[in-house]
Symmetry: C2
Subunit: 161 residues, 2 copies
């Protein structure tokens, strides 16, 4: 199956999942909501609400900020989108269906975000949840540091002194 076909499959699946969620929760299936879902799943990695809003305007969809925020909330609630706070006061979002669980490492200089996986986190999550009697639904692990290219930039600055 080609990558293109895979993407079409995923799109179809998330549409179905979203429909199921909306029906189950007595919410209407509006064209705006499906447009937003699709734009997110056609797009790449991480984005914020404003970026998504501008992106939709550029594509000539007349969808307001209010609807973008409203729909993002629904998508987070339906587990199709994940919300992150990478230390700024602006939430970042990411499609989550069809992606394996992962965490993030963030460059504190250039704000680049890289993903990584480590199975031990699941174990920690399970163990800590049991000890403290929490029913854990999700987690967020962010590592912060300086990426390779920013390390080089910094050492050049040092040399210049």
């Amino acid at each position: 199956m080609s990558d293109n076909e895979k993407q079409k499959n995923i799109l179809q699946e998330v549409r179905q999942l979203f429909t199921a969620y909306l029906e189950k929760n007595g919410q209407r299936r509006t064209s705006e909501r499906y447009t937003i879902l699709e734009e997110i799943y056609l797009r790449s990695d991480h984005f914020d609400a404003e970026e998504l809003y501008v992106h939709l305007r550029n594509r000539n969809f007349n969808i307001s900020r209010a609807t973008v925020y409203n729909t993002l909330e629904l998508l987070v609630a339906s587990d199709l989108v994940t919300k992150h706070q990478f230390g700024k006061n602006q939430a970042q979002f990411e499609k989550s269906y069809g992606y394996k669980q992962h965490d993030h490492i963030i460059c504190i200089d250039c704000r680049k975000v890289v993903e990584f996986c480590d199975p031990r986190i699941q174990q920690i999550q399970a163990m800590v949840g049991e000890i403290l009697n929490f029913k854990i639904t999700h987690h967020s692990l962010n590592l912060y540091g300086i990426c390779g290219s920013c390390q080089i930039k910094r050492s050049k600055k040092e040399d210049a002194k």
Copy 2:
């Protein structure tokens, strides 16, 4: 040594550390900055900028929000205070000197925050940093779920149906 004496010791130590930081970075040692440092170290756990500001006003310190924010930034930079984003759009802070490294588990119902430690996180941090060539400075691991008492509340709601 009594707890009271321990706290006095810690206060003295953080004041010295803060002084060292300010001197090293050519910043002035103002009374406002030390007042804020002390209030944070006399206070308990987690707080946000506004809480701290109100707390200071209540104690008849005439310190502005601007100074609170400015000083919090210095304290974070000097590693005496840690900044968190627990999913809301408001940063939370916490004193960090004299406390062993820990992470947080947050109840998504009542927003209660509990601390926990797991040495494996340090290992993950070191390993991932090496693989991805990041110089890691810090991390943030948050587990989200439902705490014991909120689990009971939820099951009572179910029963009521």
